[in-house]
Amino acid sequence: MTKPVLPDGLVAVVKRECATCVMTEPVLATIAASTTLSVFTQDDAAFPESVPHSHDSDLSISWHHDIETVPTLIRVENGVEVDRTVGWSRVAWRAITGIGDLGEELPVMRPGCGSLSVDPDLVDKLRARFTGSVLTARHIDMASAEDEFESMFNRGWTDGLPVIPPTAERVLRMLAGTTRAPDEIVAVAPPDLVPLSVEKIAINAVMAGCLPEYMPWVIAALEAVCNDRFNMHGVLATTMPVGPVIVCNGPGTKRIGMNSGINVFGQGNRANMTIGRAVQLAIRNVGGGRPGEVDRATHGNPGKLSFCFAEDEDGSPFGSLASERGIPPGTDALTVFAGEGPRCAVDQLARTPDELTNSFAACLRSVMHPKSALAFDVLLVVSPDHSRIYAEAGWARGRILRELHARLEIEANLILRGVDGMAEGLPDRFRDRTVPKFRPDGILLAHAGGGAGLFSSIIAGWANGDMGSQPVTVAVKS
């Protein structure tokens, strides 16, 4: 819909349901008597009775000219707005109109009321009415007796849980959560290699149950996974149980209400759950990666529904994961890691950092298999009760990681194939050598969890290296 042009001269936008507008009616009559004045009424077509006016019945004028308050008085010259004032202010109205004694009988100032075009009850409909044509996705009409929730299940659009019907109104509301244009391509979704537009992301974000303010995070996560480095195609197609694990950093995580504390990996927090869910839905619906087809995971894991959380940065004695990976402090960012479900690492007795690190190393030895080495990365999420031990000893990230890696140098002879009656293990060519359990950058450290609980969490990764997946960190831009 094209933006309507305002007539030259003075333009006033009013509504009867506004005491200030009613108060200014005689002033408007005065202005109309001496110069060109166009009055647009938002609600009652008869108001104001004493001044010629038009009815902005579909609120097109008000919407397109950003009327937030009534009355608004605008001066237009050659089709261009040159000045405006909102509410009643004798000084401002005299200045715009050039009528020196205007409104002498009125109070000096009186605030206006909310414009109907920004009324929360109307805004979604108006957005759909005036910007709906930006949506290019196929529209699908529900039949008269068709249950839309069943229809979405039957069409294969869900992750097994019901999804919110993505109406145009809801999608437009979601698109308002990002400054990026709906037709902007964010990434290319595997395995079908389909361009992933902001609009398609918004449709899936609606289905997931996101709020518009989550959109920048969903977009960033999709940018982070849809590339050869993270290798989303490999992650989708593997028989191993992994899916994207999204670790969020920055002040924005608090603004959108993410959880970094109690039950941080569990259910209950809308931002955590729906951001992770939107990423999965967008990948699978647009890229076409469905279980039984490209997705052939033997067991998968519940995190493939959604696995997204915020780090507890305030309580962290070792900084944030994002800052470790090159993001300036105070910048919103996220890291994606191809991970399985979390495994609990219990230590309720350690008092020193050495004791705690010995425990962690012992637990980390068995990641994927006690006799595997170098093949997998790991994300260790340390809880506040455990991180306190490091904080009190002054161990920061570098020290913790060095100490962990040092304890995870393994005599290869102990883990060769066949040793201990297990066929699994390293090939014989590693005999008499020492091998690290993890590659030098293979342990990622994060800080999250409830304040009570002497447990941390180990999230093992998929195969690393060129054929596998590398963690990716991206900044979140609105």
Binding site: I140, E148, N154, P165, P166, T167, L281, A282, G288
Partner: protein, 98 residues
């Protein structure tokens, strides 16, 4: 009022749109030879005679026929019956609504 009505609800397609929006029929086999075909009688009068003859004609063409009956024609078939039919048959014919 004409035939055209405003849709009750319109939603946007979240997919790559490579599949048709209109619900498609499942693909069919090239013949009934070797197929197990379920005949579901909705239990209205004379339907059994109709299905008996259909059974004969299908069997002549190499199909194996299984017979089922709904408890009542006034409601959809119970879930157990639908599951049983789906797990035992390649094709289904339901008759005879009158």
């Amino acid at each position: 009022m004409g035939n055209v009505t405003t849709p009750r609800l319109t939603i946007l397609d979240p997919t790559s749109e490579s599949r048709p929006a209109r619900r498609a029929l499942l693909s069919r086999p090239s013949s009934v030879d070797g197929m197990t075909i379920g005949l579901l009688d909705i239990r209205k009068p004379r339907g059994d005679v109709f299905l008996d003859r259909i059974e004969e004609l299908l069997t002549e063409r190499g199909a194996r026929v299984l017979r089922y009956a709904k408890p009542t024609f006034t409601k959809p078939a119970p879930a157990d019956l639908r599951h049983e039919i789906a797990s035992q048959c390649n094709l289904v014919i339901e008759a005879l609504a009158d």
